[in-house]
């Protein structure tokens, strides 16, 4: 996990939140470092995590997590982490054998047999419902915009998130963290609809943005907690992300 980000958010793995919906937004940049942070944070905190990873393979997250001090393979083996690799599920759906009746493919909406994301929600529900010794359950999604690319309607995506939030945040007192992409001048109206709606229902919104002035080697972007006045600039390194007040990059001082 990223220690500096914890400080800025006032968060600590010893006392993770409960019932919180966090939205991660990125604009003109790749905000996936925030996903890596929350994944390693909640695993360190001892929470049970259901990670719906739609865009990258398991080994990608595993390699980065190791740099942040967490072993995903071990967490999976111990039952702390339930990992849905979207890319593999889609391949299984299209190239694999006929699905078993008791185990529907979470991404079955891609082949069009059902228009909504019920199967995906059922997967999340089953993953987090077991009464384990782990602390509060967490649902992590990277990234929600992919579901629209796969043919899900915006309303279906919002329904899915609504069901997850009611189940995980309200019933189980757990946390939900979701990443979406958005651009100010985006022409993807469906995506903007989903993002705007989620913004209204989030307890915390973290926004990672590329700099308006363009690319810079020493400052990769700026991050802000929406509704707060303070914005921080950040630089991503191999094992860490450093945050600093705007204009105070080490390269400038």
């Amino acid at each position: 996990m990223l220690a500096e980000l914890n400080e800025l958010l006032g968060a600590a793995p010893e006392r993770p939140d409960a019932g919180k919906f966090t939205l991660l937004r990125d604009t003109r940049t790749d905000g996936s470092f925030l996903v890596h942070h929350f994944l390693s944070f909640y695993l360190r905190a001892g929470c049970k995590v259901c990670f719906v990873a739609l865009l990258q393979s398991f080994s990608h997250y595993n390699i980065v997590a190791q740099k942040l001090g967490v072993n995903l393979a071990a967490a999976k083996e111990q039952g702390q982490l339930v990992f849905l690799e979207g890319l593999q599920s889609c391949l299984d759906l299209l190239f694999g054998e006929e699905e078993q009746p008791g185990q529907p493919n979470p991404l079955q909406f891609v082949s069009g047999s059902t228009p909504e994301l019920r199967a995906l929600f059922d997967f999340v529900r089953v993953s987090l419902s077991a009464a384990d010794s782990w602390k509060g359950p967490v649902l992590l999604v990277d990234d929600l915009s992919v579901l629209l690319s796969l043919g899900a309607a915006p309303v279906a995506v919002l329904d899915f998130i609504h069901y997850c939030r009611v189940y995980v945040c309200c019933q189980l007192k757990g946390n939900v963290v979701v990443l979406v992409h958005s651009n100010e001048d985006s022409e993807d109206e469906e995506n903007e609809l989903v993002v705007n709606s989620l913004c209204h229902h989030s307890d915390l919104i973290l926004w990672a943005e590329g700099l308006a002035t363009g690319f810079c080697k020493d400052v990769h972007g700026q991050a802000a907690e929406q509704d707060l006045v303070q914005t921080y600039q950040y630089k991503i390194q191999d094992r860490n992300v450093s945050f600093f007040a705007p204009g105070l990059s080490a390269a400038v001082l």
């Binding site: 390699i63 740099k67 890319l87 069009g112 043919g151």
Partner: protein, 314 residues
């Protein structure tokens, strides 16, 4: 092994003989090495007197250095030798020659051209062992896939013809499944798309999000930049929109994002875009617009400000 996937009437027989010959280290490298050495020895003697702060900065490298890598540079005035072409196993995919898709694929809910291409790629990956299914295979090689004009009407997609295509999700579903196939095998894929024809920009944004690397080539031909003296040394711009960030928090970002390409007689090169110094007559004089602005201010009594509408006041 290599695979070339095509979707147009141009088959392998047309493309293969046109491939340029690769430059090998020994011949080309030596030429560049001699040039670079000559330049370096000249520079060493001159020390800067006025701009001395720039003395220790590395000399800007505009063109490829002496360290040539096989497979990176080609001599476009020569063709690739037939022996080299024939030493590699090639597969091609020509949509209109393929068999109709199998019944199972009807449930894919995707444009049939894309579906058949995916099935063909998956079949080659598993039959040739690129998915690691054959542990006996001694020589581990990477399957290289090239797909031309994805999204064009030749693939049976109308995303290039209409702002509201009939099936706007086929293209992005195709890319997602392809991404899965590539992640699960020893393969890499390069795709060209006629982005200038795709009117629905939302689809292009989604395509970029589903890709690891996105590069755009913008030619000056037919645009006003063709006659712009600032760009006279170049033929177009290279836009690196996105680079891969795999297995790491960071990505390999270069120092500059301003790149241009040049098609010389023997080489296609990509260089840093640098504007030539402005040596024209008007360089240190006020332009006509400045003078007009000054005249207005003079007449309104602002003498000091009218000296020149510049930020410097000395």
């Amino acid at each position: 092994m290599g695979v070339i996937k095509l979707g147009q009437e141009t088959s392998l027989h047309f493309i293969l003989p046109e491939l340029p010959a690769p430059l090998l280290n020994d011949s080309h490298g030596k030429e560049l090495g001699d040039e670079a050495a000559a330049v370096k020895s000249e520079d060493f003697q001159d020390s800067m007197k006025i701009a001395w702060r720039y003395q220790n900065l590395p000399k800007m490298e505009v063109s490829p250095t002496t360290h040539t890598k096989f497979g990176h540079y080609y001599d476009i005035s020569k063709k690739m030798s037939p022996e080299l072409c024939q030493s590699v196993k090639l597969h091609s995919f020509y949509l209109h020659e393929e068999l109709p898709f199998e019944p199972k694929m009807k449930t894919w809910n995707m444009n049939s051209g894309y579906a058949r291409l995916l099935q063909s790629i998956q079949r080659i990956i598993s039959q040739e062992g690129f998915d690691g299914s054959d542990p006996q295979q001694k020589q581990r090689n990477v399957l290289r896939i090239g797909i031309q004009s994805l999204g064009s009407v030749l693939w049976g997609d109308d995303v290039c013809c209409s702002d509201t295509p009939e099936d706007p999700h086929s293209l992005t579903k195709f890319l997602y499944v392809l991404r899965g196939l590539l992640r699960k095998s020893l393969s890499a894929c390069i795709i060209t798309m006629p982005a200038h024809l795709i009117q629905n920009k939302a689809i292009m944004e989604r395509v970029a999000n589903l890709s690891d690397m996105v590069v755009g080539l913008e030619s000056f031909i037919g645009s006003e930049r063709e006659t712009n003296p600032l760009y006279k040394d170049y033929h177009g711009l290279v836009h690196v929109h996105q680079i891969p960030r795999l297995n790491s928090l960071i990505c390999d970002v270069s120092d500059t994002k301003d790149l241009a390409f040049r098609l010389k007689r023997k080489q296609f090169t990509i260089e840093r875009l640098h504007l030539p110094p402005d040596l024209s007559d008007t360089v240190s004089r006020a332009s006509k617009q400045d003078l007009a602005g000054s005249a207005k201010l003079l007449s309104s009594g602002c003498g000091a400000m009218a000296i020149g509408k510049k930020h410097l006041d000395f």
